[in-house]
């Protein structure tokens, strides 16, 4: 006599997740306990989402879910079902042209080892969507959500200010065109 229930444990502990990732539809079946970090790195191949503290503290895994910054390490994959997810891989244009945020971080030396940079870029993206011209205090408050062990933060703050300038200039160019 089998002790197995009619539903196998694989089925019982699996969940279907459908969402939009960097503008493209995704559909996966993942364990119920899979995090967004598992989903993006292992099932979607987005290695720009970094695993570090796994406690929602360091922000290296920051991605955007419906425009808001989220720690992928501390969010279950089932919670992004039906949402719009963005990772650092979706920032640059199809032809490789860097986004304003990426260009600013490069210009201002906003990274050294680069491990935290994808999270910093996503946090910057979310901030500039909410406030295209943030004051330094607000930038400081946002950036303090994430940890950088190399730069000392000053150049990251400058990078975010520069990103706001570049994004504004880009928008004005588009309007004048």
């Amino acid at each position: 006599m089998s002790l197995e229930s009619p539903e196998s444990s694989e089925e019982r502990f699996a969940h279907k997740v459908e969402f939009e990732l960097n503008g493209s539809p995704e559909r996966h079946c993942v364990p119920t306990s899979a995090t967004v970090l598992d989903l993006l790195r292992n099932s979607c191949g987005k290695q720009g989402v970094r695993a570090s503290c796994e406690r929602s503290v360091c922000g290296a895994c920051t991605v955007l879910v419906d425009d808001l910054p989220v720690a992928a390490c501390s969010t279950f994959a089932f919670d992004v079902d039906g949402t719009r997810v963005e990772t650092v891989e979706g920032l640059a244009a199809q032809d490789g042209t860097l986004s304003a945020q990426q260009q600013a971080f490069r210009e201002c030396g906003g990274f050294q080892c680069g491990f935290c940079t994808s999270g910093m870029l996503m946090l910057t993206t979310a901030l500039l969507r909410q406030n295209p011209q943030p004051e330094r205090d607000q930038i400081r408050e946002w950036i303090s959500s994430n940890t950088c062990r190399c730069t000392g933060y000053e150049m990251i703050l400058e990078s975010v200010e520069r990103a706001a300038e570049l994004a504004s200039a880009k928008q004005q160019d588009q309007v004048s065109e």
């Binding site: 995090t35 796994e54 929602s56 808001l68 910054p69 989220v70 390490c73 501390s74 946090l123």
Partner: protein, 296 residues
């Protein structure tokens, strides 16, 4: 499925080691209540910021009920002198809510100052309270305001937030099932003033509320929080009719001396902590009474 034996350490080897569970995602409170009755040992999940950390610390539930999709748990109302905040309201939503801003503006300001921007968007009121972590700030903030937690589907209907730390309570002795936390209520009708001091966090934080006493006088309720010890409730009833009659120095002293010896820890002796809490209470009371010169 777990890659590391339970109890072998606080941190799992990797994110892949989280144990799987049977998942339920109800879309109505009625459905969630029925599920919680059917699975009394189920874990109720909200924003999950803390819950995932609990998994990494060894939590292995068989059933998880996610209340993310229940819209009625996201409501904020302010009716007849009672502010009611749904348990699924995020910290960011609460700190910007018109109802909170218009009824207790200092509560909105305090709420918007906790954690980080990223956590404020994801973390919820219910998760912050029921994770029962000493270092979390909403129990400290809302206990001083006399906040009440409302439940459905369990053995209790309401509990004061301060009961989260009661000894011999159902929390520590598994005396019952609380069911689903639906909302927190705060009586705003008798509230005269509220403020929160977190400049000395993590050593000490203080939230302080002044209310009209139902019988006579004014009641000052302060809650002292810290990183390493449970929050402690301090209280004083003064024979005053107006908030400006309160003396920040004497009331601050009366409150600080109530801090029990167990509030002392490796970050500060009890003498230091009483001194610090006295200073923070005086600072808040000076602001409450409009007499900055009486901070002491």
């Amino acid at each position: 499925m777990r890659g590391q034996k339970l109890g072998a350490g606080l941190i799992a080897q990797s994110q892949s080691a989280l144990p799987p569970f049977t998942l339920h995602r109800p879309t109505s409170l009625g459905e969630a209540v029925a599920l919680s009755r059917q699975h009394p040992k189920a874990v109720i999940a909200a924003g999950c910021s803390d819950l995932v950390a609990q998994f990494r610390e060894g939590l292995e539930p068989e059933v998880l009920i996610s209340v993310q999709r229940i819209k009625e748990l996201r409501a904020i109302k302010n009716d007849a002198g009672v502010l009611r905040i749904g348990s699924m309201v995020s910290h960011a939503e609460a700190s910007r809510s018109h109802e909170v801003l218009s009824s207790v503006p200092a509560l909105a300001a305090a709420w918007g100052s906790i954690a980080t921007v990223r956590i404020r968007y994801r973390g919820t009121l219910g998760g912050n309270l029921l994770s029962r972590r000493y270092r979390y700030e909403m129990p400290v903030i809302l206990s001083a305001l006399g906040g009440q937690m409302l439940f459905q589907g369990g053995d209790v209907e309401a509990l004061p937030i301060s009961s989260l730390w009661d000894r011999d309570s159902l929390w520590d002795r598994n005396l019952g099932n609380v069911g689903i936390l639906t909302a927190v209520t705060v009586d705003t009708a008798s509230l005269l003033w509220f403020g929160y001091e977190r400049s000395m966090r993590p050593v000490s934080t203080v939230s302080l509320a002044v209310r009209k006493d139902p019988v006579a006088g004014l009641t000052v309720s302060a809650v002292c929080g810290s990183e390493y010890r449970q929050p402690f409730l301090l209280s004083h009833t003064a024979e005053a009719t107006d908030i400006t009659e309160l003396d920040p120095v004497s009331v601050g002293g009366v409150l600080a001396v109530q801090l029990p010896d167990e509030a002392g820890d490796y970050a500060g002796s009890i003498d230091y902590r009483r001194h610090l809490v006295g200073v923070l209470c005086r600072r808040l009371l000076a602001e409450a009474t409009g007499n900055k010169g009486k901070e002491g």
